[in-house]
């Protein structure tokens, strides 16, 4: 065993000196390889953390949301629909939600104005989300101006700011009283933005949804399961930006790996020939190339993964932030709860490390089974 370890140490030592002889090329390879792992791991970590967060938080979301669509756009839904939904067996409750989007010309930010059904703010006051608070530099006691539908300015006093921990769900929220919402958006008597439905038995959800769709054909229904599944699709690979980012890095990686797989450089061939001439076995040469692949790929994998973890969970995935933020002014400064999925790490490992290891070993094996004299002369 001791002899085996000693042999590995010696081969590793030789491999390291061989890698250092081609320092520039190998460092470039390590940098591209690390960048590839970093990008893939960042997407993977951010996606799984958002998915976990969504699963933990949105399990309390309404079981069903009913919206009315006219000419392809969501429209206010008549409150009269509530009775038709409540009549369906299995429905515990059906209630109206009053909410909408408000563009604040003062800072150029979009808010979500919402009338809560519990703890409704007093008329003339609002409770704001942490994102609104930082965008407007507003705290409890300050006044915010809203442009009413009539064109007048409505001044509302900030009664409170939602907890900073709620940023990921409530950054842009402005909770208002129903009468203030009507003043801002204009009176909409007998109408609501959409309806929320709770049912007695979750297994009956799809049956009840079908019944609602049958009774109210101008509506569309979104189930809680669908809200949860929505967050499986975030950071989609089909999204243009990610595809472009990855395309560049994968291409660079493929070129370098292809360079390795398609054959060795003259210098590397000569090195193998000399090693065989001085008594190295084919297995020794393959072992050396195995260590070469292992040194580069393990270093790149570990370095890329650790950097991705720091990027996603310590810097709130800053690389994606400019895209997520887009043209918006208000950007939630959320901190994702770290979640590491062992199966995803394993998949990432096999996707990045194995192809490179194979690409390194196969041409070396081909060179090492050839006659050393011919290899040194560059015949094959």
């Amino acid at each position: 065993m001791a002899a085996w370890i000693e042999r590995q140490k010696n081969v590793l030592d030789f491999t390291l000196s061989s890698l250092l002889r081609r320092k520039g090329k190998n460092l470039a390879l390590l940098a591209v390889y690390t960048l590839l792992v970093f990008l893939m791991a960042s997407v993977m970590l951010a996606t799984s953390a958002i998915r976990k967060e969504a699963a933990a938080v949105l399990r309390e979301a309404p079981e069903m949301v009913v919206q009315r669509t006219i000419a392809g756009r969501q429209n206010p839904i008549p409150l009269a629909y509530l009775d038709q939904i409540r009549d369906i067996a299995g429905v515990i409750s059906a209630d109206a939600r009053h909410w909408g989007y408000y563009y604040d010309p003062v800072v150029g930010a979009n808010y979500t104005l919402l009338v809560p059904r519990e703890d409704v703010p007093e008329p003339g006051t609002v409770t704001i989300g942490p994102g609104v608070s930082s965008a407007r530099l507003a705290l409890a006691g300050d006044t915010l101006e809203f442009k009413a539908a009539s064109g007048e300015i409505l001044e509302l006093v900030v009664a409170g700011v939602l907890d900073g921990d709620s940023e990921l769900v409530a950054a842009d929220l402005v909770l208002v009283a129903a009468e203030d919402l009507r003043t801002i958006f204009g009176p909409a008597d007998g109408l609501a933005t959409d309806l929320v439905v709770r049912v007695a038995n979750p297994r009956e959800l799809s049956t009840i949804a079908e019944k609602i769709a049958g009774r109210l054909p101008d509506t569309r229904i979104i189930l809680r399961e669908e809200m949860l599944r929505t967050y499986d699709a975030v950071f989609s690979w089909r999204g243009g930006i990610l595809a472009l980012l990855l395309f560049g890095v994968v291409l660079a990686f493929v070129i370098i790996s292809w360079d390795k797989a398609s054959g060795l450089s003259q210098e590397e061939r000569r090195e193998i020939g000399i090693l065989k001439a001085v008594g190295w076995e084919t297995s020794d040469v393959i072992l050396m190339k195995f260590w070469e692949g292992a040194v580069v790929s393990l270093s790149a994998f570990l370095l890329g993964f650790v950097l991705a973890y720091v990027h996603v969970f310590f810097f709130s995935a800053r690389l994606f932030a400019p895209v997520l933020k887009g043209w918006a002014v208000l950007y939630p400064q959320f901190r994702l709860v770290p979640f590491i999925d062992a199966s995803q790490i394993t998949a990432l490992f096999f996707l990045t490390v194995v192809p490179y290891a194979v690409a390194t070993i196969i041409p070396s094996w081909r060179a090492s089974v050839t006659d050393p004299d011919a290899v040194m002369k560059g015949i094959r």
Binding site: K9, L16, L20, I50, E53, A56, L58, R59, E60, A61, P62, G72, R73, Q74, A109, N110, T112, L114, P116, R117, G129, G131, D165, S166, L168, V169, A170, D172, V196, R220, I222, R229, T230, D232, A233, V234, F235, S236, G239, G240, I241, S299, L302, V306, Y309, F313, F320, V323, L324, K325, G326, W327, A328, L330, P332, F334, V337, P338, F339, I340
Partner: protein, 103 residues
Amino acid sequence: MTRRTRTFGLFLLGLLVLFGLTAAHAALSRRASAASLRARALLVRRLELTDLCLSTEANYTRHLSLADFHTAFQDHPLALEHFPSGSLLGPPPHLRRSHGRLD
């Protein structure tokens, strides 16, 4: 063992320790944030929210699950997607599923 091998060994060991620390950090953070996760879930229940606030740029990336078939077109049938967040956040799966097979 030469200095070179020792240095590389230490480098790899350092990376492995950092890799292990990420797992430990994840486990500890999850435990520490259990209360704030519960508080967020309660807020979602109280306010009847449907989505996470990942972007406030466009209505269909603010409320991802409420996006509809027509968000891609926005204002007229040939309008191009002009919100960067739309290229990072995919459409909700229930929209795509509803399309069904066309062939």
